[in-house]
Amino acid sequence: MSNPAEQFRRSLVIAKKNIKIYYLKGPVIIFGLVFPLFLALAYIIGRNIPLEEVLPGLIGMTTFFTATSVGPSIVPWETRSKTLERLLCCPIALWTIIFGDMVSSFLFGLVISVIPLLYVLTLNIELLNFIVLLFSLIIANFCFSALSVLLSAYPPTDIPATSQMLSSLVKFPLVFISGVFISVEQLPEWGRIIASFSPLTYFTDLTRQLILEKGYYPLALDLVMIVIFAVIFSLAAIKLHEKTLTKRLS
């Protein structure tokens, strides 16, 4: 009953429920679709840059915004509607719920971030390694999803808009320091140091290497760092949600 495989199966049930309920919620559409779309348009239109130069940042930004759009809302929403209590009365661990939230956030990001990837394929842009790009896209999506669920843990609010707003406070600065608009090597020294603490830096750097064959970090380091961030964010999300649960339920 409490074995991890069974709990994992139950987390997929949670994810399926989230997909049905939250994918079409206003904040998810705004932060996950409308916002990255307009940011991408603002980034592309009026700039005389070849498409290949734009694509790494575009893929990074789309992946980051879409994968982090569902996560911040779920727990506050479920706290408000008391459905979190309903889930916690079921024979599932808290990590099962949190992991289910990450999976639903991950799938949303993955589906949407495939669009710029398809664009790459349609334009016949030469890639260093498509499989690595696909793999890193999956890992990065999971990493950003875990970050978004982590951001919903504190403060333990029951107002989804508050959680979205606070997560935006973290997300926006990250986009600007992670080599999306300016590559890492063009950043000043202090900027490069700050950028090294962002998971998005490594994903953008990785896509830049695969599309433009130029990057700041070694390819393997980019991949390893994304995996490390994914693990840290996942564990931190579970721990922080455990810590704030009593306050959330009171």
């Binding site: 009953m1 599932i92 339920l249």
Partner: protein, 312 residues
């Protein structure tokens, strides 16, 4: 008889407030156990600990032998919960809510569809099974919550104010279903304000106040413990001076209840004799005379008041 729920020295503090204060009780398998208390007495906190929503600060609690702290998943696998506030997913249909909960309990697909269909039909929700819960009335939501609590066929059912705010028909249906479920040998833990409900449904009742258990017994025994609360209601054909009746040493208190006189006594037979004699002397006719046992509500108020005046 084996215990379905065992609670020992259970304690929970919220800051300086002790919500649950070293309480002890056990609920036998197949029993309907009532949990009564005024607002803020500790009822919901106790249920939240037993259903895994809160961690106690002290003491232990187990369900079907599983410690709620050490084996929470196993303990929760045996229970169904109907909370005080509706918490079905309003953006899902009734059918989807039941399937979701069933899957979270690991009920097999075939069994789950069978249970879901049966429950929705039993509770008169089958016709609206594909409608979003958002459009359901309070009664329909409450029925759905009970369906959700029963979909895994639990050993123990926790109900927190299940009929609060419901119309008579829905209340009756829910009570019938709870009784029916209990007849199948299942255990029910019922938290309620409703004395009549507790009296009608429960085999035993615990009264909790200020986080402490004031009494645990059958409704009959609880009433019998408060025999001084039994009373006689008498109706004479003419007005009488109540002061003259109050003088009788067997009468602890006399008051008007509409046009009747209500006299409280621990010795009803002596008081009946006195009232008959009194009527003869005053040339009155007794139109009606009833001996009333104390209601559970009387016992409840007495116990709560006793605890409140007890020195700390």
């Amino acid at each position: 008889m084996e215990s379905a729920i065992t609670v020992q020295n259970l304690t929970k503090h919220f800051g300086d407030v002790t919500a649950v204060d070293h309480i002890n009780f056990s609920v036998k398998k197949g029993e309907i156990f009532g949990f009564l208390g005024p607002n803020g007495a500790g009822k919901t906190t106790t249920i939240r600990i037993l259903t895994g929503l809160l961690k106690p600060d002290g003491g232990t609690a187990s369900i079907i032998g599983y410690d709620v702290l050490r084996n929470p998943i196993e303990a929760k696998q045996c229970i169904g919960v109907v909370p005080e506030v509706s918490n079905a997913y309003i953006d899902l249909s009734a059918w989807e809510n039941l399937i979701l909960i069933g899957r979270l309990y690991g009920v097999s697909s075939h069994k789950l569809k069978e249970n879901t269909t049966k429950l929705l039909k039993d509770f008169g929700l089958y016709e609206v099974k594909d409608k979003l819960v958002r459009g359901f009335s309070k009664g329909m939501k409450q029925k759905l919550l009970l369906c959700m609590a029963l979909v895994n066929d639990p050993e123990v059912l926790f109900l927190d104010e299940p009929t609060s705010g419901l119309d008579v028909e829905s209340t009756r249906l829910l009570r019938e279903k709870i009784t029916q479920y209990n007849r199948d040998g299942k255990t029910v833990f019922l938290s309620t304000h409703n004395m009549e409900e507790a009296n009608q449904l429960c085999h035993r009742i615990a009264i909790i106040n200020h986080g402490k258990i004031a009494a645990i017994d059958t409704p009959e025994n609880l009433r019998a413990q408060s025999m001084e609360l039994q009373y006689i209601e008498v109706l004479f054909d003419k007005q009488v001076n109540i002061q003259e009746i109050s003088k009788n040493p067997n009468i602890s208190k006399a008051s008007f209840a509409g046009n009747r006189i209500r006299v409280y006594t621990a010795n009803p037979s002596a008081v009946i004799e006195f009232l008959v004699e009194f009527a003869k002397q005053k040339r009155l006719h007794i139109l009606s005379l009833n001996t009333m046992m104390p209601s559970l509500e009387d016992v409840f108020i007495k116990l709560i008041k006793e605890k409140e005046v007890m020195p700390v």
